[in-house]
Amino acid sequence: MRDCIYLDNNATTQIDEEVLGAMMPYLTLYYGNPSSMHTFGGQVGKAVKTAREQVASLLGAEPSEIIFTSCGTEGDNAAIRAALTAQPNKRHIITTEVEHPAVLNLCRHLEKQGYTVTYLGVDSQGRLDLDEVQASITGGTALVTIMYANNETGVVFPIEQVGALAKEYGALFHVDAVQAVGKIPLDMSSSTIDMLTLSGHKVHGPKGIGALYVRKGTRFRPFMVGGHQERGRRAGTENVPGIVALGKACELAESHLANISHERQLRDYLETSILTLIPDTVVNGSTKERLPNTTNIGFKYIEGEAILLSMNQYGICASSGSACTSGSLEPSHVLRAMGLPYSVLHGSIRFSLSRYTTQDEIDRVIEVLPDTIARLRSLSPFSSD
């Protein structure tokens, strides 16, 4: 699929060639187990160490604060479970209605086990209300877990303000930053965040690797129990090629942050063009506090899957809702939480760009999209209303 115009980078990204180059030796020559005694395993241990430093550097963290995981979902599960285990007497969790299923479904599951969960709502622009946080948090709140940036709309939450409230009430603060990492500068050394999740395949690393930042001094019980890898905090033979790749991906992401305006300019150009050229379109979510690479656009009166498949015909890949829920027929829980009208809810498409996205690709989208939308609308009983 070389000709694919890939605008679905919030679902997953292409592995950077340099990342691939860095990981290849560990898929071929250096296959030792880093926990082994022989030099062959020991060499591999050094590569893991470097990768840990690279990840730490991107986050403004210390290497010892990084735990490698298998994906963002594992990071979220591990952080939330650890926070609750560390404070057995506190049974209240605060999260939002627009979290990724990795957090949301786990919270629902925890409700069945006797935890009380507050799901903070968002306004029609997808924004949090800090007063709601303030109103729900108490001394009995074990954990506040919110996402840094929303995967569907790109809306960025006021993390440090929420974190300050968490600190004030003695709650642990976990942030799912799977979508923020590599798109927004992060600095754990000056942050209120206790734990932060990231995922490799969202930052031009491979699938099957992620990391969890755990602030020094935070009590942490492993989610995956077994051997003493990751200093006893995550059992299982280390995914060395994945770890090395994630390290390199983070290094590249750190240096790319200075050029993130590339994505922003193309995204703005795409968004403005669509709004101008295609009637009955709206941007979903605040455009002020937003990831530079994401736009979520509602095409009124038509249905998302039909739009996606029509674009697919031109080799344009985008998505409606998150990849995790796209197999379901439900409209996005994020857009529903924003209270969008039905006419928009079912016809919303997320375009998510990357550093590989080119002007030509966006031009092509702008070229074919108006007719595509018009054709679908001509089939719809509502558009003529």
Binding site: P34, S35, S36, M37, H38, T39, G41, G42, G45
Partner: protein, 158 residues
Amino acid sequence: MWEYTDKVMDLFYNPRNQGTITEKGEGQAITTGEVGSIACGDALRLHLKVDEKTEIILDARFQTFGCASAIASSSALTELLVGKTLDEALSLTNKEIADFLGGLPEEKMHCSVMGQEALEAAIFNYRGIPLDNHEDDEGALICRCFGVTDSRIRRIVL
């Protein structure tokens, strides 16, 4: 994998002064000190040849059952001892042994303690002083080998 220094690896592969001492001249004494056991996974038998008048250590030899750092520490110990008087030798710390090796991984510091203790045992044997078996030490056992505790290592290291 342990991060051993080149010096540790060199002394592990090419230990100096291994073996026993059987021959002695006039005015000389042989004494041995032993710590650890096979049950514990490490043991060291230290042999010293001492000039009885000056109490200078003329020769030092070791036999070690243990890991690479135990073997290297034993070798280092013997090199450090030759030429010292017994009193000078008694003030030798395990840290000096570790320093001689260019450092030891934290988890392996007790391997150097073993050398220091064998030395003490050899000298006490020579002087007929009963051996104290460190049962007063508190703290978690970190090397089951011969009852070296955390707090003792810290005391000796610091």
